[in-house]
């Protein structure tokens, strides 16, 4: 337990930079998926920090390994917020675990996880992270690999203590997280509904374009214009497909990841509550005993108090960091969504404008041929 870990180191020296390469592009040998795990990811890191021997490292890791790392981090830094991993289990038959889209999405999430850990002033110094990034073979004990839910730590604080009074600021945090999580859920549902409606719209739009094509076949003078319209509609369809794909690959996963992040944060808040409850419980028992037979307050109680204060401080610092990152992430997310939509409309507009040019050319063509006939 590194409760007293120095936090000042973050400002000194360079930060760790990690980069994730696409698993399928850099593979030397084909990845061999295990029974419960997906394709491995290859990482290259550039480091300029002193603890690392070499400037560059390149290792292969499986999802399992990320899971191991996260659990290790949670255990060794229980007062800190550990970023979430993408969902471990996916329903077989619902999602193709080897499809390019799924691998891409997962890789982006794993990349984000590592970057967040590497950016954290305390977590980035964790020896488990060091091992994860540099060791050729991770020597992890098999038992840990069987842990199921991401975010649940093995160690529990001795239970049974009830919290008396939670400080207002932590109450506020809890409420905020609940509401925020709810709103993200709503946004997720709306986004999914939009995707469904867009898909139906796309189907009808394709048929609509097809009618223009078929009509063009039975016209002479109108053939080119009608084909032009059909072409425009087809271009619009392609642009819409891109928009929908982007929504499901870039927008939705970030939303879902934040819901997991919120769950992690709530867990940390719960742990803090438990630590405070334990302290209060022990203190109360010690005070009673002191009143009975003058036994002095044991050292453990003071240590508990320290624990509570450190936890509160760590948590507040992490909270501020989390809020800052959240603002940045969502600004990026929503701006991205807006940009993609604008891009879609620009593509459609360009297509229709080129059609107008075609039609105007046809008009002048017709006029000149008319005057030639007369």
């Amino acid at each position: 337990m590194s409760v007293g870990a120095p936090r000042g180191l973050a400002s000194s020296g360079q930060k760790l930079i990690t980069e994730m390469l696409h698993p399928l592009s850099a593979a030397e040998e084909p990845p061999s998926p295990g029974p419960d795990v997906t394709v491995s990811a290859e990482e290259k890191e550039k480091t300029s920090r002193i603890e690392f021997d070499l400037p560059d490292y390149s290792v292969r890791r499986r999802y399992q390994d990320f899971d191991w790392l996260r659990i290790k981090l949670e255990d060794s830094q229980p007062t800190h917020l550990i970023p979430p991993l993408p969902e471990k289990f996916v329903m077989k038959g619902v999602v193709d675990r080897f499809s390019e889209e799924f691998v891409e999405t997962r890789m982006k999430a794993l990349d984000k996880f590592l970057k967040r850990v590497a950016d954290h002033p305390v977590l980035s110094f964790n020896p488990h992270l060091n091992a994860f990034l540099t060791a050729k073979d991770l020597n992890k004990r098999q038992g840990l690999a069987l842990l199921t839910k991401v975010g649940e730590s093995v160690k529990h604080v001795a239970g049974g203590y009830k919290l008396r009074a939670r400080p207002a600021e932590f109450c506020a945090m809890g409420e905020y997280l609940d509401t925020f999580s709810q709103k993200l859920g709503t946004i997720d549902r709306i986004a999914q509904r939009i995707l469904r409606e867009q898909s139906e719209y796309l189907t009808e739009l394709r048929e609509y374009g097809a009618v223009y094509s078929s009509w063009a076949g039975s016209e002479e003078q109108l053939q080119r214009p009608l084909e032009g319209v059909a072409g425009c509609v087809t271009t619009s369809c392609g642009a819409l497909e891109d928009l929908s794909d982007n929504m499901s690959q870039d927008f939705l996963p970030v939303l879902r990841e934040y819901v997991l992040y919120i769950e992690s944060m709530k867990n940390v808040l719960r742990k803090r509550d438990q630590v405070q409850a334990e302290y209060e419980g022990r203190l109360e028992a010690a005070v009673l005993r002191k009143q009975e037979d003058r036994t002095p307050i044991p050292v453990e109680v003071e240590k508990c108090q320290d624990k509570v204060e450190c936890f509160n401080a760590d948590l507040k610092a992490d909270w501020e960091r989390w809020q800052r990152n959240k603002r940045q992430d969502f600004k990026q997310l929503l701006t991205g969504m807006a940009d993609k939509n604008i891009n879609y409309y620009e593509k459609c507009q360009a297509a229709w404008e080129s059609l107008i040019t075609l039609l105007q050319e046809k008009q002048t063509e017709d006029k000149t041929s008319e005057t030639e006939l007369n």
């Binding site: 509401t179 709306i190 139906e200 719209y201 009808e204 739009l205 609509y208 009618v211 600004k331």
Partner: protein, 350 residues
């Protein structure tokens, strides 16, 4: 062009106004061959709701359209007299068109805007009183008058002229032409099945083309309706973002204003679809015009077929009657066999 119409119609228009207050006309006005639209400004300016008793004495509400006319030479001279105007119902436009179809069966008569709203997508009310529908109908009626009045043959029709200028008594004038009787018999004949022996190649091609055009425009209109429906749904769901962003902004400090504003933009986006789709209705109207034009073209081809069939029947009849006369005159029964008589043999034997 202005000079032409000036010479042709200045005197006669003024004359007809002075001489014949009931509106009946000096035919020289119309006999010059240039179409009506070149001599007269026409527009369907407004629409109004009226209430009245209909043919079976029931109270009904209906829309009337203001038809304005003004001789072009009047504005050319620098004066700008107020236009003459009268109110017409859709049913009167229908009557005019039905008359023209019967009176000129060889002409593809321009179509009217639809009687009832068809190819509607779910949001659009199929209500004939809906102001958007009435406005689009007004445009369609004006378009109809433009097309008819610029047609080299139709524009010279008297009934048309009186439609534009004679508010009362016009209906009676139309009925007096006796076109209704012809209409009924034509209708019965057209729905009958018959085959022409030597079909006119060009007309068969035209009929075939009109079938194709009808089919394609109808398909297009149906597909467009479905697309409009789906597009509407996409936009409207975005409106839900408006609400949730607003709720979210309440729990944020730095991000609050941005989220609130984003919510408003989503609301604006969701409502923007209404105008977009209303505009598209005008495009659909133009497709419908050609759908109906295709029907009119087909009707002309059918009428031609009918006439040709009647002609063929009449010629065969004539041949047969001539033969009979010869037989009676010479007392000899010819053994010449023509195929028609051969076909009539089973009947004769009964």
């Amino acid at each position: 062009m202005a000079e032409d119409s000036k010479e042709d119609s200045v005197a006669s228009n003024v004359d007809s106004d002075q001489q014949t207050p009931d509106g009946s006309l000096n035919n020289s006005v119309l006999a010059d061959g240039s179409c009506l639209l070149r001599r007269m400004e026409i527009c369907v300016a407004e629409a109004e709701k009226r209430s009245g008793k209909n043919a079976v004495s029931m109270q009904e509400t209906f829309t009337v359209y203001l038809v304005e006319t003004r001789p072009i030479d009047a504005t050319a001279e620098g004066r700008s007299p107020p236009p003459d105007s009268l109110w017409r119902r859709y049913s009167e436009f229908e009557l005019l068109r039905n008359y023209l179809i019967i009176a000129y069966p060889y002409i593809v008569v321009p179509p009217l805007p639809e009687k009832r709203a068809e190819f509607v997508w779910h949001k659009l009310s199929a209500d004939n009183m809906d102001p958007d529908f009435v406005e689009r109908r007004r445009i369609g009626l004006e378009n109809f008058l433009f097309r008819v009045a610029s047609h080299p043959v139709l524009s010279n029709d008297e009934i048309l002229y009186h439609f534009l200028t004679k508010e009362h008594g016009w209906k009676e004038m139309v009925y007096e032409t006796g076109f209704q009787a012809k209409a009924d018999s034509r209708l019965r004949a057209l729905s009958a099945t018959f085959r022409v022996r030597s079909p006119h190649k060009r007309l068969v091609e035209m009929k075939h083309y009109s079938d194709g055009l009808q089919s394609h425009t109808a398909q297009l209109l149906r597909a467009r309706t479905r697309v409009a429906d789906r597009l509407y749904a996409v936009y409207k769901v975005h409106g839900n973002y408006g609400r949730v962003f607003s709720e979210w902004s309440a729990i944020e400090k730095e991000m609050g204003d941005g989220l609130q504003s984003a919510g408003h933009h989503m609301d604006a986006y969701a409502t923007s679809i209404d105008d977009i789709l209303e505009e598209e209705e005008h495009y659909a109207d133009q497709l419908k015009e050609y759908l109906f034009y295709a029907e009119a073209l087909r009707a002309v081809c059918r009428k031609h077929e009918l006439s040709q069939f009647e002609l063929e029947m009449a010629s065969l009849d004539l041949i047969s009657k001539k033969q009979q006369r010869e037989e009676l005159a010479t007392g000899v029964c010819h053994t010449n066999i023509n195929l028609k008589q051969y076909a009539m043999l089973p009947k004769a034997c009964k």
